[in-house]
Protein backbone atom coordinates (compact mmCIF):
# COMPACT_ATOMS: atom_id res chain seq x y z
CA UNK A 1 0.00 0.00 0.00
CA UNK A 2 1.18 3.48 -0.87
CA UNK A 3 0.88 6.13 1.77
CA UNK A 4 -1.84 8.72 1.49
CA UNK A 5 0.70 11.53 1.30
CA UNK A 6 2.45 9.88 -1.60
CA UNK A 7 -0.82 9.46 -3.48
CA UNK A 8 -1.77 13.05 -2.81
CA UNK A 9 1.55 14.30 -4.14
CA UNK A 10 1.18 12.17 -7.23
CA UNK A 11 -2.35 13.44 -7.71
CA UNK A 12 -1.28 17.08 -7.55
CA UNK A 13 1.65 16.43 -9.82
CA UNK A 14 -0.48 14.87 -12.52
CA UNK A 15 -3.21 17.52 -12.25
CA UNK A 16 -0.54 20.17 -12.59
CA UNK A 17 0.88 18.47 -15.63
CA UNK A 18 -2.51 18.34 -17.30
CA UNK A 19 -3.15 21.98 -16.51
CA UNK A 20 0.20 22.85 -18.08
CA UNK A 21 -0.75 20.95 -21.23
CA UNK A 22 -4.04 22.79 -21.43
CA UNK A 23 -2.26 26.10 -21.10
CA UNK A 24 0.20 25.06 -23.77
CA UNK A 25 -2.75 24.84 -26.16
CA UNK A 26 -3.86 28.34 -25.28
CA UNK A 27 -0.44 30.00 -25.42
CA UNK A 28 0.01 30.00 -29.23
CA UNK A 29 -3.52 31.31 -29.73
CA UNK A 30 -2.91 34.06 -27.17
CA UNK A 31 0.42 34.97 -28.71
CA UNK A 32 -1.01 35.19 -32.20
CA UNK A 33 -3.96 37.24 -31.13
CA UNK A 34 -2.08 39.70 -28.98
CA UNK A 35 0.73 40.15 -31.45
CA UNK A 36 -1.69 40.83 -34.29
CA UNK A 37 -3.65 43.15 -32.03
CA UNK A 38 -0.51 45.08 -31.09
CA UNK A 39 0.74 45.38 -34.65
CA UNK A 40 -2.62 45.88 -36.33
CA UNK A 41 -4.54 48.29 -34.14
CA UNK A 42 -2.25 51.24 -34.82
CA UNK A 43 -2.69 50.82 -38.56
CA UNK A 44 -6.45 50.51 -38.48
CA UNK A 45 -8.29 53.59 -39.60
CA UNK A 46 -11.46 54.49 -41.38
CA UNK A 47 -9.43 54.58 -44.59
CA UNK A 48 -8.62 50.93 -44.18
CA UNK A 49 -12.29 50.02 -44.50
CA UNK A 50 -13.16 52.51 -47.24
CA UNK A 51 -10.15 52.80 -49.55
CA UNK A 52 -8.41 50.60 -52.05
CA UNK A 53 -4.62 50.19 -51.69
CA UNK A 54 -2.72 53.37 -52.49
CA UNK A 55 -0.27 53.30 -55.42
CA UNK A 56 3.28 52.32 -54.52
CA UNK A 57 5.07 55.09 -52.71
CA UNK A 58 1.95 56.97 -51.70
CA UNK A 59 0.88 56.89 -48.08
CA UNK A 60 -2.55 55.77 -46.87
CA UNK A 61 -4.88 53.44 -48.62
CA UNK A 62 -6.86 50.48 -47.31
CA UNK A 63 -8.14 47.04 -48.12
CA UNK A 64 -11.79 47.78 -48.76
CA UNK A 65 -11.65 46.06 -52.14
CA UNK A 66 -10.19 42.94 -50.51
CA UNK A 67 -12.96 42.80 -47.94
CA UNK A 68 -15.59 43.26 -50.61
CA UNK A 69 -13.95 40.63 -52.81
CA UNK A 70 -13.75 38.19 -49.91
CA UNK A 71 -17.41 38.79 -49.11
CA UNK A 72 -18.44 38.23 -52.74
CA UNK A 73 -16.40 35.07 -53.09
CA UNK A 74 -17.53 33.66 -49.75
CA UNK A 75 -21.10 34.45 -50.73
CA UNK A 76 -20.59 32.73 -54.08
CA UNK A 77 -18.96 29.73 -52.44
CA UNK A 78 -21.89 29.49 -50.02
CA UNK A 79 -24.39 29.67 -52.87
CA UNK A 80 -22.65 26.76 -54.54
CA UNK A 81 -21.52 24.81 -51.48
CA UNK A 82 -24.39 25.03 -49.02
CA UNK A 83 -27.14 23.49 -51.20
CA UNK A 84 -24.81 20.70 -52.30
CA UNK A 85 -23.52 20.08 -48.79
CA UNK A 86 -26.88 20.19 -47.05
CA UNK A 87 -28.88 18.27 -49.64
CA UNK A 88 -26.06 15.74 -49.86
CA UNK A 89 -26.17 15.33 -46.10
CA UNK A 90 -29.93 14.75 -46.19
CA UNK A 91 -29.33 12.08 -48.79
CA UNK A 92 -26.63 10.42 -46.71
CA UNK A 93 -28.56 10.48 -43.48
CA UNK A 94 -32.11 9.84 -44.71
CA UNK A 95 -32.06 8.14 -48.08
CA UNK A 96 -28.68 6.63 -48.84
CA UNK A 97 -28.08 2.92 -49.04
CA UNK A 98 -25.17 1.82 -46.92
CA UNK A 99 -22.68 1.18 -49.72
CA UNK A 100 -23.23 4.42 -51.64
CA UNK A 101 -23.10 6.38 -48.40
CA UNK A 102 -19.82 4.80 -47.35
CA UNK A 103 -18.25 5.77 -50.66
CA UNK A 104 -19.55 9.35 -50.48
CA UNK A 105 -18.46 9.74 -46.86
CA UNK A 106 -14.99 8.45 -47.70
CA UNK A 107 -14.73 10.79 -50.68
CA UNK A 108 -15.81 13.74 -48.54
CA UNK A 109 -13.22 12.90 -45.91
CA UNK A 110 -10.47 12.66 -48.52
CA UNK A 111 -11.64 15.93 -50.06
CA UNK A 112 -11.55 17.74 -46.73
CA UNK A 113 -8.06 16.39 -46.15
CA UNK A 114 -6.82 17.59 -49.54
CA UNK A 115 -4.32 20.46 -49.27
CA UNK A 116 -6.12 23.63 -50.28
CA UNK A 117 -3.45 24.54 -52.82
CA UNK A 118 -4.43 21.40 -54.73
CA UNK A 119 -8.06 22.52 -54.64
CA UNK A 120 -6.90 25.81 -56.15
CA UNK A 121 -5.08 23.98 -58.93
CA UNK A 122 -8.19 21.93 -59.69
CA UNK A 123 -10.29 25.09 -59.97
CA UNK A 124 -7.55 26.58 -62.15
CA UNK A 125 -7.72 23.64 -64.52
CA UNK A 126 -11.50 23.49 -64.54
CA UNK A 127 -12.31 27.18 -64.85
CA UNK A 128 -9.35 29.51 -65.27
CA UNK A 129 -7.83 27.67 -68.25
CA UNK A 130 -11.04 27.21 -70.29
CA UNK A 131 -12.25 30.73 -69.46
CA UNK A 132 -8.83 32.13 -70.32
CA UNK A 133 -8.53 34.28 -67.24
CA UNK A 134 -8.48 34.47 -63.49
CA UNK A 135 -11.83 35.27 -61.91
CA UNK A 136 -13.74 35.62 -58.68
CA UNK A 137 -16.00 32.85 -59.92
CA UNK A 138 -13.08 30.44 -60.03
CA UNK A 139 -12.19 31.57 -56.51
CA UNK A 140 -15.73 30.87 -55.33
CA UNK A 141 -15.67 27.40 -56.86
CA UNK A 142 -12.35 26.60 -55.18
CA UNK A 143 -13.68 27.78 -51.82
CA UNK A 144 -16.91 25.83 -52.35
CA UNK A 145 -14.89 22.66 -52.87
CA UNK A 146 -13.36 23.20 -49.44
CA UNK A 147 -16.71 24.03 -47.91
CA UNK A 148 -18.75 21.11 -49.24
CA UNK A 149 -17.16 18.24 -47.27
CA UNK A 150 -17.27 20.24 -44.02
CA UNK A 151 -20.93 21.15 -44.41
CA UNK A 152 -21.78 17.65 -45.62
CA UNK A 153 -20.30 15.84 -42.66
CA UNK A 154 -21.41 18.24 -39.91
CA UNK A 155 -24.95 18.39 -41.29
CA UNK A 156 -25.12 14.63 -41.57
CA UNK A 157 -24.04 14.24 -37.95
CA UNK A 158 -26.69 16.72 -36.85
CA UNK A 159 -29.42 14.99 -38.85
CA UNK A 160 -28.49 11.65 -37.37
CA UNK A 161 -28.93 13.06 -33.89
CA UNK A 162 -32.60 13.81 -34.55
CA UNK A 163 -34.52 11.05 -32.77
CA UNK A 164 -36.24 8.55 -35.04
CA UNK A 165 -39.43 8.99 -33.04
CA UNK A 166 -39.92 12.43 -34.58
CA UNK A 167 -39.63 11.09 -38.12
CA UNK A 168 -42.09 8.34 -37.21
CA UNK A 169 -44.50 10.82 -35.66
CA UNK A 170 -44.55 12.79 -38.88
CA UNK A 171 -44.81 9.76 -41.17
CA UNK A 172 -47.63 8.30 -39.09
CA UNK A 173 -49.62 11.48 -39.74
CA UNK A 174 -49.49 10.76 -43.45
CA UNK A 175 -46.70 13.19 -44.25
CA UNK A 176 -44.55 12.03 -47.18
CA UNK A 177 -40.97 11.10 -46.41
CA UNK A 178 -39.39 13.99 -48.30
CA UNK A 179 -41.55 16.53 -46.48
CA UNK A 180 -40.68 14.84 -43.21
CA UNK A 181 -36.99 15.14 -44.03
CA UNK A 182 -37.23 18.85 -44.76
CA UNK A 183 -39.85 20.04 -42.31
CA UNK A 184 -39.21 17.80 -39.33
CA UNK A 185 -35.72 16.32 -39.49
CA UNK A 186 -33.83 19.26 -41.01
CA UNK A 187 -35.92 21.72 -39.04
CA UNK A 188 -35.06 19.98 -35.78
CA UNK A 189 -31.36 19.94 -36.61
CA UNK A 190 -31.34 23.52 -37.87
CA UNK A 191 -29.29 25.15 -35.12
CA UNK A 192 -26.64 22.46 -35.36
CA UNK A 193 -26.57 22.76 -39.14
CA UNK A 194 -26.17 26.52 -38.81
CA UNK A 195 -23.21 25.98 -36.48
CA UNK A 196 -21.55 23.79 -39.10
CA UNK A 197 -22.24 26.33 -41.82
CA UNK A 198 -20.70 29.16 -39.82
CA UNK A 199 -17.62 27.11 -39.03
CA UNK A 200 -17.27 26.28 -42.72
CA UNK A 201 -17.57 29.97 -43.62
CA UNK A 202 -14.96 30.83 -41.00
CA UNK A 203 -12.69 28.20 -42.49
CA UNK A 204 -12.89 29.45 -46.08
CA UNK A 205 -12.72 33.11 -45.04
CA UNK A 206 -9.07 32.64 -44.20
CA UNK A 207 -8.09 30.43 -47.13
CA UNK A 208 -5.33 31.95 -49.25
CA UNK A 209 -3.77 29.16 -51.28
CA UNK A 210 -6.81 28.20 -53.38
CA UNK A 211 -7.26 31.85 -54.36
CA UNK A 212 -3.72 32.27 -55.69
CA UNK A 213 -4.48 30.40 -58.91
CA UNK A 214 -8.09 31.44 -59.22
CA UNK A 215 -9.08 34.91 -58.03
CA UNK A 216 -5.47 36.10 -58.32
CA UNK A 217 -6.12 39.38 -56.50
CA UNK A 218 -6.74 42.90 -57.68
CA UNK A 219 -5.39 46.28 -56.66
CA UNK A 220 -8.62 48.03 -57.56
CA UNK A 221 -12.31 47.74 -56.85
CA UNK A 222 -13.38 44.41 -58.30
CA UNK A 223 -17.04 43.58 -58.41
CA UNK A 224 -17.18 41.59 -61.62
CA UNK A 225 -16.99 37.89 -60.74
CA UNK A 226 -15.62 37.11 -64.19
CA UNK A 227 -12.57 39.30 -63.58
CA UNK A 228 -9.64 38.85 -61.19
CA UNK A 229 -10.89 39.72 -57.73
CA UNK A 230 -9.23 41.02 -54.58
CA UNK A 231 -9.46 39.05 -51.37
CA UNK A 232 -8.37 39.95 -47.88
CA UNK A 233 -6.06 36.95 -47.31
CA UNK A 234 -4.43 37.49 -50.71
CA UNK A 235 -3.81 41.15 -49.95
CA UNK A 236 -2.30 40.28 -46.59
CA UNK A 237 0.00 37.86 -48.37
CA UNK A 238 1.15 40.23 -51.09
CA UNK A 239 1.49 43.22 -48.74
CA UNK A 240 3.41 41.24 -46.16
CA UNK A 241 6.05 40.14 -48.68
CA UNK A 242 6.39 43.61 -50.22
CA UNK A 243 9.46 45.63 -49.24
CA UNK A 244 7.56 48.70 -47.93
CA UNK A 245 7.08 49.48 -44.29
CA UNK A 246 3.58 51.03 -44.66
CA UNK A 247 2.40 48.01 -46.68
CA UNK A 248 3.49 45.78 -43.83
CA UNK A 249 1.39 47.86 -41.48
CA UNK A 250 -1.62 47.44 -43.75
CA UNK A 251 -1.00 43.71 -43.82
CA UNK A 252 -1.07 43.64 -40.02
CA UNK A 253 -4.31 45.56 -39.99
CA UNK A 254 -5.74 43.13 -42.54
CA UNK A 255 -4.67 40.19 -40.41
CA UNK A 256 -6.37 41.73 -37.41
CA UNK A 257 -9.61 42.22 -39.31
CA UNK A 258 -9.50 38.67 -40.64
CA UNK A 259 -8.81 37.12 -37.25
CA UNK A 260 -11.53 39.22 -35.64
CA UNK A 261 -14.07 38.16 -38.27
CA UNK A 262 -13.19 34.49 -37.81
CA UNK A 263 -13.31 34.86 -34.05
CA UNK A 264 -16.75 36.43 -34.30
CA UNK A 265 -17.96 33.67 -36.61
CA UNK A 266 -16.72 30.98 -34.24
CA UNK A 267 -18.35 32.69 -31.28
CA UNK A 268 -21.65 32.96 -33.17
CA UNK A 269 -21.38 29.31 -34.11
CA UNK A 270 -20.84 28.40 -30.48
CA UNK A 271 -23.80 30.50 -29.47
CA UNK A 272 -26.07 28.67 -31.91
CA UNK A 273 -24.59 25.38 -30.79
CA UNK A 274 -25.28 26.07 -27.16
CA UNK A 275 -28.78 27.45 -27.39
CA UNK A 276 -29.79 24.38 -29.34
CA UNK A 277 -33.13 22.93 -28.48
CA UNK A 278 -34.28 19.63 -29.82
CA UNK A 279 -36.14 21.47 -32.51
Amino acid sequence: MQSVTYRKIKNHLMSGLMLACTLAVLIPLGLIFFHILKMGVSSLSLDFFTHVPAPTGEPGGGMANGMLGSAIMIGGASLIGLPIGILGAIYLSEFGGSRVSTVIRFAADVLSGTPSIITGMVAYTLLVVPMKGFSGLAGSVALAMIMIPIVLRTTEEQLKMVPGSLREASLALGVPFWRTSLKVTLRSALSGVLTGVLLAVARIAGETAPLLFTALGNQFWSKNVLQPMAALPLQIFSFAIAPYEDWHRLAWAGALVLVTVMFALSLTARYFGRTRRAG
Partner: protein, 252 residues
Protein backbone atom coordinates in the same frame (compact mmCIF):
# COMPACT_ATOMS: atom_id res chain seq x y z
CA UNK B 1 -69.89 -6.54 -36.75
CA UNK B 2 -67.81 -5.43 -39.68
CA UNK B 3 -64.17 -6.44 -39.82
CA UNK B 4 -62.19 -3.28 -40.41
CA UNK B 5 -58.74 -4.84 -40.62
CA UNK B 6 -58.00 -8.35 -41.71
CA UNK B 7 -54.67 -10.15 -41.66
CA UNK B 8 -54.15 -13.11 -43.95
CA UNK B 9 -51.08 -15.23 -43.40
CA UNK B 10 -48.88 -12.33 -42.50
CA UNK B 11 -45.18 -13.06 -42.17
CA UNK B 12 -42.59 -10.46 -41.26
CA UNK B 13 -38.86 -10.96 -41.65
CA UNK B 14 -35.99 -8.72 -40.61
CA UNK B 15 -33.05 -10.00 -42.59
CA UNK B 16 -32.89 -13.59 -41.43
CA UNK B 17 -35.05 -13.17 -38.36
CA UNK B 18 -38.57 -14.42 -38.74
CA UNK B 19 -40.33 -12.03 -36.37
CA UNK B 20 -43.99 -12.69 -37.16
CA UNK B 21 -45.12 -16.12 -38.33
CA UNK B 22 -48.12 -16.73 -40.47
CA UNK B 23 -50.68 -14.71 -38.56
CA UNK B 24 -54.29 -14.52 -39.71
CA UNK B 25 -56.85 -12.63 -37.67
CA UNK B 26 -59.46 -9.90 -37.84
CA UNK B 27 -60.04 -6.61 -36.08
CA UNK B 28 -63.73 -5.65 -35.81
CA UNK B 29 -64.79 -2.08 -36.54
CA UNK B 30 -65.45 0.32 -33.66
CA UNK B 31 -63.91 -1.94 -31.10
CA UNK B 32 -60.67 -2.17 -29.19
CA UNK B 33 -58.43 -5.12 -29.88
CA UNK B 34 -55.46 -5.68 -27.59
CA UNK B 35 -52.35 -7.51 -28.69
CA UNK B 36 -50.55 -8.97 -25.70
CA UNK B 37 -47.50 -11.13 -25.22
CA UNK B 38 -44.05 -11.14 -23.63
CA UNK B 39 -41.27 -8.82 -24.83
CA UNK B 40 -39.93 -9.71 -28.25
CA UNK B 41 -42.97 -11.73 -29.26
CA UNK B 42 -43.52 -9.59 -32.35
CA UNK B 43 -46.55 -7.62 -31.20
CA UNK B 44 -45.10 -4.18 -32.00
CA UNK B 45 -43.72 -5.55 -35.26
CA UNK B 46 -47.16 -6.77 -36.22
CA UNK B 47 -48.76 -3.48 -35.24
CA UNK B 48 -46.29 -1.43 -37.28
CA UNK B 49 -46.96 -3.53 -40.37
CA UNK B 50 -50.54 -2.26 -40.37
CA UNK B 51 -49.63 1.26 -41.46
CA UNK B 52 -46.55 0.29 -43.40
CA UNK B 53 -44.04 1.74 -40.94
CA UNK B 54 -41.70 -1.09 -41.86
CA UNK B 55 -41.21 0.49 -45.28
CA UNK B 56 -38.48 2.57 -43.67
CA UNK B 57 -36.44 -0.44 -42.62
CA UNK B 58 -34.50 -1.77 -45.56
CA UNK B 59 -34.14 -5.27 -44.14
CA UNK B 60 -37.83 -5.67 -43.30
CA UNK B 61 -40.01 -7.84 -45.50
CA UNK B 62 -43.75 -8.21 -45.06
CA UNK B 63 -45.58 -10.98 -46.91
CA UNK B 64 -49.20 -12.08 -46.83
CA UNK B 65 -52.17 -9.76 -46.98
CA UNK B 66 -53.18 -6.93 -44.70
CA UNK B 67 -56.63 -5.74 -45.67
CA UNK B 68 -58.15 -2.47 -44.54
CA UNK B 69 -61.76 -2.36 -45.71
CA UNK B 70 -60.94 -5.33 -47.93
CA UNK B 71 -58.14 -3.49 -49.75
CA UNK B 72 -54.65 -4.95 -49.43
CA UNK B 73 -52.41 -2.16 -48.20
CA UNK B 74 -49.31 -3.94 -49.49
CA UNK B 75 -50.64 -4.32 -53.01
CA UNK B 76 -48.49 -2.79 -55.73
CA UNK B 77 -49.37 0.80 -56.46
CA UNK B 78 -50.80 1.51 -53.02
CA UNK B 79 -49.35 4.73 -51.60
CA UNK B 80 -48.08 4.16 -48.05
CA UNK B 81 -48.67 7.84 -47.31
CA UNK B 82 -52.35 7.47 -48.11
CA UNK B 83 -52.52 4.36 -45.92
CA UNK B 84 -50.97 6.20 -42.99
CA UNK B 85 -53.61 8.91 -43.26
CA UNK B 86 -56.27 6.23 -42.81
CA UNK B 87 -54.35 4.24 -40.21
CA UNK B 88 -52.91 6.55 -37.58
CA UNK B 89 -50.44 5.64 -34.88
CA UNK B 90 -49.70 6.59 -31.29
CA UNK B 91 -46.29 5.63 -29.99
CA UNK B 92 -44.95 4.30 -26.73
CA UNK B 93 -43.08 7.45 -25.77
CA UNK B 94 -45.03 10.67 -26.22
CA UNK B 95 -43.41 12.36 -29.21
CA UNK B 96 -44.90 15.81 -29.80
CA UNK B 97 -42.91 17.96 -32.23
CA UNK B 98 -40.56 19.88 -29.94
CA UNK B 99 -40.27 22.96 -32.13
CA UNK B 100 -44.03 23.45 -32.27
CA UNK B 101 -46.63 24.92 -29.96
CA UNK B 102 -49.49 22.88 -28.52
CA UNK B 103 -51.76 24.41 -31.15
CA UNK B 104 -49.43 23.60 -34.03
CA UNK B 105 -48.90 20.06 -32.79
CA UNK B 106 -52.61 19.30 -33.05
CA UNK B 107 -52.73 20.44 -36.68
CA UNK B 108 -49.23 19.15 -37.51
CA UNK B 109 -50.65 16.63 -39.99
CA UNK B 110 -52.03 19.54 -42.01
CA UNK B 111 -49.24 22.04 -41.45
CA UNK B 112 -46.52 19.65 -42.53
CA UNK B 113 -48.50 18.83 -45.64
CA UNK B 114 -49.34 22.39 -46.59
CA UNK B 115 -51.72 24.95 -45.18
CA UNK B 116 -54.91 25.02 -43.20
CA UNK B 117 -57.25 28.04 -43.10
CA UNK B 118 -57.15 29.80 -39.75
CA UNK B 119 -60.81 29.29 -38.83
CA UNK B 120 -60.77 25.62 -39.70
CA UNK B 121 -57.60 25.19 -37.68
CA UNK B 122 -59.08 26.89 -34.62
CA UNK B 123 -62.11 24.67 -34.77
CA UNK B 124 -60.11 21.52 -35.29
CA UNK B 125 -57.73 22.29 -32.44
CA UNK B 126 -60.58 22.91 -30.04
CA UNK B 127 -62.60 19.86 -31.00
CA UNK B 128 -59.62 17.49 -30.98
CA UNK B 129 -58.30 18.76 -27.67
CA UNK B 130 -61.79 18.46 -26.20
CA UNK B 131 -62.08 14.90 -27.37
CA UNK B 132 -58.85 13.94 -25.63
CA UNK B 133 -59.94 15.88 -22.53
CA UNK B 134 -56.99 18.23 -22.75
CA UNK B 135 -58.80 21.41 -23.73
CA UNK B 136 -59.51 22.69 -20.23
CA UNK B 137 -55.93 22.10 -19.17
CA UNK B 138 -54.30 23.94 -22.07
CA UNK B 139 -56.84 26.36 -23.57
CA UNK B 140 -55.07 29.36 -22.04
CA UNK B 141 -51.63 28.43 -23.34
CA UNK B 142 -52.19 26.99 -26.78
CA UNK B 143 -49.25 28.94 -28.13
CA UNK B 144 -46.74 27.67 -25.60
CA UNK B 145 -44.31 24.92 -26.43
CA UNK B 146 -45.65 21.38 -26.36
CA UNK B 147 -42.68 20.20 -24.33
CA UNK B 148 -43.98 22.22 -21.36
CA UNK B 149 -46.73 19.62 -20.86
CA UNK B 150 -46.44 16.62 -18.59
CA UNK B 151 -45.85 13.19 -20.09
CA UNK B 152 -49.51 12.22 -19.82
CA UNK B 153 -50.63 15.50 -21.36
CA UNK B 154 -48.10 15.07 -24.15
CA UNK B 155 -49.48 11.64 -24.92
CA UNK B 156 -53.02 12.97 -25.05
CA UNK B 157 -51.75 15.72 -27.33
CA UNK B 158 -50.27 13.05 -29.59
CA UNK B 159 -53.63 11.30 -29.68
CA UNK B 160 -55.30 14.62 -30.52
CA UNK B 161 -52.78 15.08 -33.33
CA UNK B 162 -53.59 11.61 -34.61
CA UNK B 163 -57.37 12.03 -34.63
CA UNK B 164 -57.05 15.49 -36.18
CA UNK B 165 -56.19 13.93 -39.54
CA UNK B 166 -59.39 11.86 -39.29
CA UNK B 167 -58.06 8.32 -39.51
CA UNK B 168 -60.28 5.24 -39.55
CA UNK B 169 -57.98 3.01 -37.55
CA UNK B 170 -55.72 4.02 -34.68
CA UNK B 171 -52.75 1.85 -33.78
CA UNK B 172 -51.40 2.29 -30.27
CA UNK B 173 -48.02 0.93 -29.33
CA UNK B 174 -48.02 0.66 -25.52
CA UNK B 175 -49.42 4.19 -25.27
CA UNK B 176 -49.41 4.31 -21.49
CA UNK B 177 -46.29 2.39 -20.58
CA UNK B 178 -44.23 5.54 -20.05
CA UNK B 179 -46.91 7.22 -17.94
CA UNK B 180 -47.91 7.36 -14.29
CA UNK B 181 -51.06 5.52 -13.07
CA UNK B 182 -53.34 8.56 -13.19
CA UNK B 183 -52.29 9.50 -16.70
CA UNK B 184 -52.67 5.86 -17.67
CA UNK B 185 -56.21 5.85 -16.38
CA UNK B 186 -57.01 8.95 -18.43
CA UNK B 187 -55.61 7.37 -21.57
CA UNK B 188 -57.65 4.23 -20.93
CA UNK B 189 -60.86 6.24 -20.49
CA UNK B 190 -60.01 8.02 -23.70
CA UNK B 191 -59.57 4.76 -25.60
CA UNK B 192 -63.00 3.70 -24.38
CA UNK B 193 -64.51 6.86 -25.87
CA UNK B 194 -62.51 6.81 -29.08
CA UNK B 195 -63.75 3.40 -30.13
CA UNK B 196 -67.14 4.88 -30.96
CA UNK B 197 -65.57 6.52 -33.98
CA UNK B 198 -62.44 4.53 -34.68
CA UNK B 199 -61.17 1.01 -34.79
CA UNK B 200 -58.46 0.73 -32.18
CA UNK B 201 -55.65 -1.77 -32.05
CA UNK B 202 -53.49 -1.52 -28.96
CA UNK B 203 -50.30 -3.31 -28.06
CA UNK B 204 -49.77 -3.58 -24.35
CA UNK B 205 -47.47 -5.18 -21.85
CA UNK B 206 -49.97 -4.71 -19.14
CA UNK B 207 -52.52 -7.50 -18.96
CA UNK B 208 -54.82 -5.65 -16.58
CA UNK B 209 -54.89 -2.86 -19.10
CA UNK B 210 -55.79 -5.26 -21.90
CA UNK B 211 -58.55 -6.69 -19.74
CA UNK B 212 -59.86 -3.22 -18.87
CA UNK B 213 -59.89 -1.52 -22.26
CA UNK B 214 -60.25 -4.15 -24.93
CA UNK B 215 -63.15 -6.01 -26.45
CA UNK B 216 -60.93 -8.55 -28.17
CA UNK B 217 -57.51 -9.86 -27.28
CA UNK B 218 -54.84 -11.61 -29.28
CA UNK B 219 -52.00 -13.41 -27.53
CA UNK B 220 -48.71 -13.60 -29.40
CA UNK B 221 -45.80 -15.75 -28.40
CA UNK B 222 -42.47 -16.03 -30.24
CA UNK B 223 -43.99 -14.60 -33.39
CA UNK B 224 -46.95 -16.97 -33.39
CA UNK B 225 -50.54 -16.07 -32.78
CA UNK B 226 -51.43 -18.43 -29.95
CA UNK B 227 -55.00 -17.45 -29.44
CA UNK B 228 -57.41 -14.64 -30.12
CA UNK B 229 -60.98 -13.96 -29.25
CA UNK B 230 -63.21 -11.97 -26.95
CA UNK B 231 -61.24 -10.49 -24.10
CA UNK B 232 -63.62 -11.93 -21.51
CA UNK B 233 -63.08 -15.39 -22.83
CA UNK B 234 -59.30 -15.10 -23.22
CA UNK B 235 -58.96 -13.94 -19.64
CA UNK B 236 -61.36 -16.44 -18.09
CA UNK B 237 -61.41 -19.59 -20.14
CA UNK B 238 -58.54 -19.59 -22.60
CA UNK B 239 -58.29 -22.60 -24.84
CA UNK B 240 -54.54 -22.80 -24.96
CA UNK B 241 -52.37 -23.78 -22.05
CA UNK B 242 -49.74 -21.17 -23.01
CA UNK B 243 -52.32 -18.38 -22.90
CA UNK B 244 -53.42 -19.42 -19.46
CA UNK B 245 -49.84 -19.65 -18.23
CA UNK B 246 -49.05 -16.19 -19.52
CA UNK B 247 -52.19 -14.57 -18.20
CA UNK B 248 -51.77 -16.10 -14.77
CA UNK B 249 -48.21 -14.86 -14.70
CA UNK B 250 -46.41 -18.15 -14.94
CA UNK B 251 -44.08 -16.78 -17.62
CA UNK B 252 -43.45 -13.64 -19.64
Amino acid sequence: MNNKVKLEQVNIHFGRTHAVRDISMTFPENSVTAIIGPSGCGKSTLLRSMNRMHDLVASARVTGKILVDDGDIYEKGVDPVAIRRRVGMVFQKPNPFPAMSIYDNVIAGYKLNGRLPREEADELVESCLKRVALWDEVKDRLKSNAMMLSGGQQQRLCIARTIAVKPEVILMDEPASALDPISTLKIEELIEELKERYTIIIVTHNMQQAARVSDYTAFLYMGDLVECGETKKIFTTPEEKRTEDYITGRFG
